[in-house]
């Protein structure tokens, strides 16, 4: 990151090359906890998108008046404010989803992705860079959550977003919907991603 990347580069970086879930391994609690089905995973990703975007923009706007030793506290309080907004919004307009996600919405406050992006990117760069970075990272996060949630919902309940995709003779793998299934799915998907990455690198080295 020595030569300044453009906002577009920042945006693309977040989606695959620096995917928050698989490459940086940040924000694992929601990744494992809310991926029982695709709908709750996508709600979570939406909430993270809003909080990350707002926090990044605000931090970027005040970056020049931030005192270095107080910055983490400021980041956290900014994030907590936006998380409260999201939480109230969900409770008002999507009550059942808010009940289902339970404590994991307030736990966005301590989600490392957001603090990490504020620290690495937003506190050093202009608003446009910060905003593009936030959207890119959020899309990457949504991809990570979505992949795990899709696998777990298909195998665990035979459905996707509530529609049945597997024939009804499919014996639902209930373990996939339970906590251990989250660990298994994430571990195996991460192994697969690593395998693809190493294969790609080998090809590049040979060429």
């Amino acid at each position: 990151m020595s030569n300044e990347p453009t906002p577009l580069e920042r945006f693309i970086q977040g989606i695959i090359p620096e995917n928050p879930t698989y490459r940086q391994m940040l924000g694992l609690c929601p990744t494992l906890a809310v991926t029982g089905n695709l709908k709750s995973a996508m709600t979570m990703a939406g909430a993270v998108l809003f909080v990350l975007f707002c926090a990044n923009v605000i931090v970027s706007l005040i970056r020049n008046i931030l005192k270095p030793h107080l910055r983490i506290v400021i980041f956290t309080l900014t994030i907590a404010t936006f998380v409260t907004i999201v939480d109230r919004f969900l409770a008002a307009y999507m009550y059942s989803m808010s009940k289902a996600l339970g404590p994991y919405i307030p736990l966005i406050i301590v989600n490392c992705i957001i603090i990490c992006r504020c620290e690495v990117c937003a506190s050093k760069q202009s608003v446009i860079h910060a905003g593009a970075d936030a959207i890119g990272q959020s899309i990457g996060f949504a991809l990570g959550l979505g992949s795990i949630a899709a696998v777990r919902e298909i195998l665990g309940a035979g459905s996707l977003l509530g529609f049945h995709v597997l024939p009804s003779c499919w014996p639902n793998w209930v373990i996939m919907a339970l906590p251990p299934g989250a660990f298994f799915t994430f571990g195996l998907l991460m192994g697969t991603v690593n395998w693809f990455v190493s294969k790609k690198e080998k090809k590049q080295n040979n060429a």
Binding site: L28, L77, A80, T84, D87, L101, P179, G187, N194
Partner: protein, 267 residues
């Protein structure tokens, strides 16, 4: 007597049945990151337990005396400006997240300074983990759980400070158990021939999955214990003392699935 049984069941439930790491998935980052060797894992576990107890104490006090509607301090301050009726209705729970995270961050800072000054050996053993703990979701999760028990419609059901502290301390103990077991397994894993893509985090997650499966075996132990300990048989045996909250459809499913089996076994 009932109170003691309640405390005992909360402790068992927090440490084993609803283990913070393996059931609620909070504190995964240190669980994956700091579980390389047993000594470090144990130090981290102790630090988390310590901070969790302090944060739980602060959050209980703040919630009970300031945040909930009709809390004494708020009612008093608001009473200066407002008529008594309105002062009693002032509800500050919307500020809870900001207050909690601020309380956690500052208490971690103070604990670090205090331990460094007065207990240098202790600081050497787990001081390095203290700053990391601020962003550990397990602490905030414990605060939120206590808040959900204090902010209830019926004031008589609100948890007292003893229950809150027991929940926090044994939640921390459960975290320590999980992370130390994991560290033990990982020390052995270093000598195994793991396929290259799976080395590091991936195999750790799969191992954690097997561990979580093992801990699932504890499900229903609390309702069984409650039945055995309570003098009078309770009508609904399937109600656990720490109610499984609706944390995601997966967990709701887990309880639906496991509890009927438990009842069959009891018969």
């Amino acid at each position: 007597m009932n109170y003691l049984i309640d405390i005992f069941l909360i402790a068992i439930s927090a440490a084993l049945i609803n283990n913070f790491v393996l059931h609620y998935f909070v504190g995964i980052c240190p669980f994956i990151g700091v579980s390389r060797n047993i000594d470090m894992a144990f130090g981290m576990g102790c630090a988390v337990t310590f901070v969790m107890a302090i944060a739980a104490f602060i959050s209980w006090v703040v919630t009970t005396f300031i945040l909930i509607p009709g809390a004494p301090v708020t009612t008093f301050i608001a009473g200066i400006f407002l008529p008594a009726e309105q002062a009693k209705a002032v509800d500050l729970t919307i500020l809870s997240y900001i207050v909690y995270i601020f309380a956690i961050a500052s208490s971690v800072q103070f604990v670090e300074m205090y331990v460094r000054k007065f207990f240098p050996p202790l600081y050497k053993s787990f001081g390095v983990f203290l700053p990391l703990i601020t962003t550990n979701c397990a602490i905030l999760f414990a605060c939120l759980m206590i808040m959900s028990k204090v902010v209830v419609d019926n004031p008589a059901e609100a948890w007292d400070i003893g229950r809150a502290l027991v929940l926090a301390i044994f939640g921390g103990v459960g975290f320590t158990i999980a992370i130390v077991i994991m560290a033990g397994i990982r020390e052995e894993l270093d000598m195994c021939d793991v396929p290259k893509p799976f080395q590091g985090a991936a195999i750790t997650l799969v191992t954690a999955g097997i561990l979580a499966m093992g801990f699932m075996g504890f499900t229903g132990v609390d309702s069984g214990l409650r039945k055995a300990l309570m003098p009078k048989p309770v009508q609904q045996a399937s109600i656990t003392p720490v109610k499984p909250d609706d944390a995601g459809p997966s967990l709701a499913l887990a309880h639906k699935l496991v509890i009927p089996q438990q009842e069959q076994n009891d018969k």
